[in-house]
């Protein structure tokens, strides 16, 4: 039975509510139009370049110039604010589905259009994609190990000038599987590799959204609402897709594993083993997704996930070791390095300022790690006693992003797909609340007179 048909068959609705429901499509269309307009403004203005919000990049979007003006903080922040408010409205409206409410076709159209607009535009808000390309070119074009050297080692390569100044001496912190996946892009040239990265991010996002839809169906939730929660989230498509971040590839692996497990409710040990293997493979793309594994194992209490995880780890680690040596599989060292960074958007930094301190001190890093360990232990105990492991994993990812001193917009996306399909609705509220605080924190330039 289709979703629309399913909701059509619901119990009778009071007349007042019915009249409200009749207005949902119109309201959603207006909000969707606002989102599309705001996103188009960001992309068209961003295509002009010469903006602190648009990283210096090879020319991939000059065909869009001539319509927009240079993207300033004020326009960007207003567009982000408009998108966020419209998103909140659409998510709220999606609860009122049924009897002519938001249709699946409309939701897919909106999410597809937002993705398309961002995809054809310039790289937004981050230089990370150039680091990915640099690491690939180091290995393929120059025979330099990206786990032992930073892009500085290929300062003569055309990609070097586009790598963020802070990352030029930094060896890769990404998993060996991601680096191997990006290797075929290296011979495509700089522009070719950049488009390949954008296509990869687009496909990863599409795959993630398809799996969110599937998982929502498997759990008996409204798939249209789940799709809108993730796919129409401004941080997801503006920051995540706009920057072609590999977090989207990681999330694809994450949702693939969750879908396999949900499809295996009952006795399919092969699917559970495959799910665990996929989580480990995801962790070899970006380590964060490994957070799901202990929750899955504790929830299932079977041998299959453990065997799947071990086999996957051995295979990928051996491949990584063969290509990159021991540094290619030493993900812990990379995580420790990143954990020592501090970003101005981190809650740790904000709390330090609230307490009258100039910033985060080493003792604060230790306190935050202790807090995170306690939270994870509590969640593991709850999972052991029957709590939804998908929700527990989502809470753990949210806790990581909140307690980390290095927070970026695409880090607070990690728990979102899980929040959209989990049984504990508090997780969705908490995730969107944290994202809302992030958006509020960006608004400083808008509030400084003449800023």
């Amino acid at each position: 039975m289709s979703v629309a048909a399913h909701t059509e068959a619901a119990s009778p609705v009071p007349v007042g509510r019915l009249s409200l429901l009749r207005r949902v499509p119109l309201l959603a269309s207006l909000l969707g139009l606002l989102m599309v307009a705001a996103t188009a403004e960001i992309v068209l203005d961003g295509a002009v370049g010469h903006s602190p919000l648009i990283p210096e990049s090879p020319d991939i979007s000059s065909w869009l110039t001539g319509i927009g003006e240079r993207l300033g903080f004020r326009v960007f922040l207003i567009a982000l604010l408009v998108s966020s408010v419209a998103y909140a409205g659409i998510v709220a409206a999606s609860r009122l589905r049924g009897r002519g409410g938001i249709s699946g076709r409309w939701a897919i159209g909106l999410v597809g259009l937002l993705h398309l607009i961002v995809f054809v535009g310039p790289v937004l808000l981050s230089t990370d994609v150039f680091s990915y390309i640099a690491y690939a070119r180091m290995g393929v074009e120059h025979g330099v190990n990206p786990y032992l050297n930073g892009p500085q080692a290929i300062h003569f390569d055309p990609v070097f000038r586009y790598v963020g100044p802070d990352w030029r001496k930094a060896a890769s912190a990404y998993g060996p599987l991601y680096t191997l996946i990006s290797y075929p892009f290296a011979p495509l040239g700089l522009v070719g590799a950049l488009w390949a990265m954008k296509v990869e991010a687009l496909l990863a996002s599409a795959g993630t959204l398809a799996l969110v839809w599937r998982c929502a169906e498997l759990r008996g939730f409204d798939p249209v609402r789940a799709l809108l929660i993730v796919g129409a989230n401004p941080l997801y498509f503006v920051y995540g897709l706009g920057g072609a971040h590999n977090d989207l590839v990681m999330m694809l692996a994450m949702m693939g594993a969750v879908a396999l497990t949900l499809g295996a409710e009952g006795t399919s040990t092969r699917r559970e083993g495959s799910a665990a293997a996929l989580i480990v493979a995801g962790a070899m793309i970006k380590a964060t997704v490994g957070t799901l594994l202990p929750f899955m194992i504790v929830a299932r209490r079977r041998l299959a996930p453990i065997v799947g995880a071990v086999v996957s780890f051995v295979v990928v680690a051996l491949a990584g070791y063969a290509v990159f040596g021991i540094h290619g599989v030493n993900i812990v060292a990379a995580l420790n390095r990143d954990a020592s960074f501090v970003s101005s958007d981190s809650f740790a930094d904000e709390i330090a300022h609230l307490l009258g301190k100039p910033g985060v001190f080493p003792i604060d890093h230790d306190l935050l790690k202790v807090a995170l360990v306690l939270i994870v232990l509590h969640l593991l105990w709850r999972t052991w006693r029957g709590y939804d492991w998908v929700a527990a994993s989502g809470w753990a990812l949210l806790a990581i992003s909140v307690t980390s001193t290095w927070v970026l917009a695409w880090y607070i996306l990690w728990p979102l797909p899980l929040a959209a399909i989990c049984k504990d609705r508090r997780l969705l509220a908490a995730t969107l609340f944290v994202q809302g605080l992030f958006v509020v924190h960006q608004m400083v330039p808008l509030l400084v007179p003449g800023g």
């Binding site: 504790v298 209490r301 079977r302 809650f347 930094d349 904000e350 709390i351 300022h353 609230l354 100039p358 910033g359 052991w384 006693r385 029957g386 709590y387 909140v402 508090r426 908490a430 609340f433 944290v434 605080l437 509020v440 924190h441 608004m443 400083v444 330039p445 509030l447 400084v448 007179p449 003449g450 800023g451």
Partner: protein, 165 residues
Amino acid sequence: MIDFTTPSSNSDRFFDRLPHWLRPRTVELPGKGYLRMVELVVLVLVGLFLAVATVNDVGRGVNIGKRLKVDMNTWRVYTHHDYKNIGVDQTLLGTGTSKEVVCGNDSPGPPKERVQICLMVEGPTRAGLREVTGGWYLGAFVQEDNFEDRYGCFGKAGAKGLCPR
């Protein structure tokens, strides 16, 4: 209906020897909701704390933004140059001290490609300006404000030995 008193699956027989409260479960016990309530209270308190910290940080950022505009205005008034590309360093004289160093070219040209005048600015804002307590010069094409690149220190900068002798 789910039997909450028995282990969740055959594979859980291994855990039968554990005390009742330690045994794993596939579905949570309905209970009286105390744990959920405690979790919810903690979540609300943490959320409020994060919200206060965020709003406080936004206010702090706005104040810093206003002060930086005053600093740049002070530099323009002091040097009589109405230039756009002026840099403000908030950390050189101590993080969180609100004492800043403002640098800009002393003659028209691309940023940092002329001799630069750097001013130490501190104190409260009066009539849209802050007090200039000292400063120094940097040579043309000097990208970073390093000790060895400074010369001609004046005011507090000279007294504090911020230039090489």
